[in-house]
Amino acid sequence: MGRDVQGARRGGAEGDGARGQSVRDAVALAVLLAVIVAPALAFLVKLGGVELPLWLDGSTALYLSGSAPLSQPGMGAREVAANLAEGSTRDNVEDLVLENVPFRAQALIANAELQRDAIRASNLLFDWPAYPCFYGSSNYLIDEYQAVKPVQRSGLVPGWQRFSESLAAFASTHPGTRFAVLLPAESTEPASNPAIALTSDGVTNEDMAATFEAVLGSVPNVSVVAEDFDDGAAYYDQYFRLDHHWTEAGAVALYNRLAQASGLEVLEVQGIVEQEVGYMGSLARQGLVGAWDAATALANDFSNIRFTDEAGNVTTAADHSRYESLPKIQKLTDYYSSYYSGLNGVFENDEAPLDETVLEVSDSFGDAFTRLVATGARRVVNVDWLTQERSGDESLANLMEVEDPSLVVFVGTPWNYASMCDRFPNLFA
């Protein structure tokens, strides 16, 4: 490439100006090239078996969305090609490029942070207590608690009514069994989540409990166990600030309410342990907030509870080997689901005071909850049906026939209750 007439015009054909312009042009070219070839270089380096540091590796960003990289350090070209050929090659190629863009995780968070700064600047005029994490985000940053929360809307109410009506009908045909619907205050506690009051149709845990109570309150063998908090600070003692789940301390609080309502033994908290690696929960990841909570769990000893998973593997409820084996980045982004024993399986506790079987139908809120129930009941069977979409012959009645529970506990998020009957039409068949 040579210089052109315009280049000459910019400062005269001779002189410092023209030379300076050429240097700046060359720098612009170098910058462009450096940017556009960086992912290809990173990819080649990884193919060569070199493990890039987490802050540089583009695939780190995948942990924010919970997906897996197509290329790993040391993976052969053939292996990468096989991964690309799986599913839509076009999409895979696009993903492969993205996962090799250096600093991508930082870019994601920096981009959101920039937008958040613009939103904060706008908020100087309004002083709202909560604002979106970035433009278009449905998660809101709550400055007072440095927390991120979504808002549950009244559109969920018909789904809750449908769930309640279906359960009421089902419970009346199983009068010998007790049922409990647990309503964790996931983002619905107004003092901890001021965004609810800023919307025209946000719902609180009080609204949610009232909806369930209106239908189930008159059914003798069903109890609705809801939460209430004195203030926002109390709430954040029991719920992660940056994840939609409760901490195990929060799970204990609701378990003890269940225990009081159902004759299970109340559990005493023997302390809280904090993991070395923090927890960048789902709301931090979705909201692209580069912060994390303390990853905490109960100090109680759960080693006397046997856990048998669906494949028949037997461990204990105190076994956290899966979590311990994870790389740091996964520990950081996946603490809640990897620390606890798992969802589908049977927990058995020979020392439990109540010699009965409890059937727990849950979503991920059951992760931290089930082993608590197993401190009070000899046998707890857990199924994660609240997260499932099922159209086969499976039903709660069939499962109850097999397991013969004296107590059936539902524990899940507002939106899972609301969509349950659509996703699993035979649940109460």
Binding site: D16, A28, V101, S122, L125, L198
Partner: protein, 558 residues
């Protein structure tokens, strides 16, 4: 594939640049561009790339037929001694569009120049028949894919029963743009403005050229004819391309996409739910979104063209500073305006006909402009809306406006294009009335929403940035600085004149040749600062690209 995607930026562009500059021969470079363009298109439209290839071949073939028929006619006339000197093998007038960015006004001496004596000498019935056939094919393809479904649905609605089948064809991306380019090419060949391109690969490169393939600017063959056969990429030209590309990417990623979040969220909601604030902020957001989206795309296209040695025409010239609708359309989508002027309006007689016929010509052009954007009543209404306003301006409004202070002229223009974008963006003609009512307060300030949940408030800090970026404030500063460097008076500098404006990327400082020696240091320092500012914009845009999911340009849908 879109420019603002990781796959384009980090795979397609480096590979294309690599192959392009690795090959020393122009012919090979042209083939690289053709293949790259086909891949670029096929990435998003694996089936319809065949349609584009067919369109290229058809236009290539018919243009050759026309050219040969015209050459034969010229030879025949020459043998009869009826041909003036110079009207032989394609010695034609240069393209007549030398009047800057006028979209519809025809200079009084222009029609006479359109077809000169020499062109008439080359005219041939055979060529005219070939032109008619190829136009039927080009416009027929566009009609089938873009309008047939709409037409059938309207006929069925009108009759009240399904007498025509329901047609639902996916619109091939970019068909509206490459069809216009193909039409301009064959018409220019027929007019004798350009010679037919004998090499189908080269014509294919022109029609499918990836920088401008899917959303313009609409480049006429005459504008790149020389570059197809002979072009040189210079460091300065390449760097200017990079700077323009960076500016365009900034407009798209940092401004348009952010505005698009608000527009997309609110435009789908019923106006009674969001009230005046929601509706007004939705249309305002869309107003900025479409300008920065389309303007950004055009800048990126022109920048990419420059990197490969092509000089593409400017498409936007700060339209939102206009003080009349006539001026607005000289500054907005300039290549579309000039296409309709040269290929529809002037052939219809332009303004050199009776007043009623002139008004009809305007309505025809604007009806076509509207419907070109999409097969929907909204678009037709949008086009006619501008047609009527332009008629009024030409008949009496412009002369009246000239007596009004400039501020009010701006205000008038802003109100007109605000409602224009409302017509354009609201889905469904029946909704338009509700939106207009909402703007006039029918559903209260907020409808049934709260101010917080409308989220418009969160854009308040961006408004000054959006407004400033819509105005030529940076060129204004730059021009004044350049004048200061040369010791020239700064009075009378117009940052974005309607005609003859040299298109320099914002932030790029053009150090004048006659810079005062004492101010050379300042020139260098400011030039470096300008480049650093552009680098920051580029870095932020890249960050945004790798943070975003698929976000196509608005004009892809047209």
């Amino acid at each position: 594939m879109v420019f603002s995607s990781a796959i384009f930026l980090f795979l397609f562009l480096p590979l294309t640049l690599g192959f392009y500059f690795a090959l020393p021969w122009l012919a090979a470079k042209n083939v690289v561009l053709l293949l790259a363009s086909l891949l670029f298109y096929a990435w998003g439209e694996p089936v319809y790339v065949v349609l584009m290839v067919v369109s290229i071949l058809v236009n290539w073939g018919f243009a050759l037929i026309m050219d040969r028929a015209m050459s034969r006619a010229a030879a025949s006339r020459r043998s009869q001694g009826a041909l003036p000197r110079g009207a032989r093998d394609g010695e034609v007038d240069p393209p007549g569009d030398d009047d800057g960015f006028d979209s519809l006004d025809v200079p009084s001496d222009r029609l006479g120049d359109i077809r000169g004596e020499e062109r008439r000498a080359r005219s041939s019935k055979g060529a005219t028949v070939a032109l008619a056939i190829v136009l039927v094919i080009d416009l027929g393809l566009l009609g089938v894919f873009k309008y047939l479904g709409f037409f059938c649905a309207q006929v069925n609605n009108l009759v009240g029963s399904p007498i025509l089948p329901e047609v639902s064809l996916a619109l091939p991306i970019g068909i509206s743009f490459y069809t216009l380019q193909a039409v301009s090419y064959v018409v220019d060949v027929w007019r004798g403005d350009v010679r037919a391109q004998a090499n189908p690969l080269y014509l294919g490169m022109y029609i499918s050229m990836f920088p401008q393939l899917v959303a313009g600017p609409i480049v006429r063959y005459s504008e790149i004819e020389e570059a197809v056969d002979d072009r040189h990429v210079t460091l300065a030209g390449f760097a200017r391309g990079i700077r323009l590309f960076a500016v365009g990417m900034g407009k798209k990623m940092l401004l348009a996409n952010v505005c698009g979040v608000l527009a997309d969220a609110l435009l789908v909601l019923p106006p009674e739910e969001i009230g005046f604030v929601g509706c007004a902020s939705a249309v305002c957001a869309y107003t900025f979104q479409i300008y920065f989206d389309f303007g950004g795309y055009s800048d990126m296209a022109i920048g990419l063209g420059s990197m490969f040695g092509f000089s593409y025409p400017r498409n936007f010239n700060y339209p939102y500073i206009s003080s009349s609708v006539t001026e607005f359309w000289r500054r907005w989508h300039m290549t579309l305006g000039s296409f309709f002027r040269d290929y529809v309006y002037i052939p219809l007689g332009g303004n050199r006909v009776s007043t009623p016929r002139w008004m009809l010509n305007i309505l025809i052009v604007w009806g076509l402009t509207g419907i070109w954007h999409g097969a929907a009543w909204n678009f037709l209404l949008w086009g006619l809306y501008y047609g009527v306003i332009l008629m009024c301006e030409k008949l009496f409004l412009l002369s009246w406006l000239e007596r009004v202070p400039r501020f009010f002229r701006h205000l008038y223009t802003i109100v007109v294009f605000f409602f224009g974008w409302l017509l354009f963006s609201v889905v469904g003609l029946s909704n338009v009335a509700h939106w207009v009512l909402a703007i006039f307060g029918r559903y209260g300030w907020l409808g049934t929403s709260t101010l917080w949940e409308l989220q418009s408030w969160s854009y308040v800090s961006l408004v000054p940035v959006l407004v400033l970026a819509s105005t030529p404030v940076i060129p204004w500063i730059r021009k004044r600085f350049e004048a200061w460097l040369a010791g020239r008076p700064a009075a009378g500098i117009v940052a974005a004149p309607q005609k003859g404006n040299d298109f320099v990327p914002p932030c790029e400082l053009v150090v004048p040749a006659d810079v005062l020696p004492s101010r050379r240091g300042a020139a260098t320092a400011v030039a470096i600062l300008a480049d650093l500012a552009l680098l920051a914009v580029f870095a932020l845009s890249v960050i945004s690209v790798v943070s975003s999911s698929y976000n196509p340009f608005i004009y892809f849908q047209f």
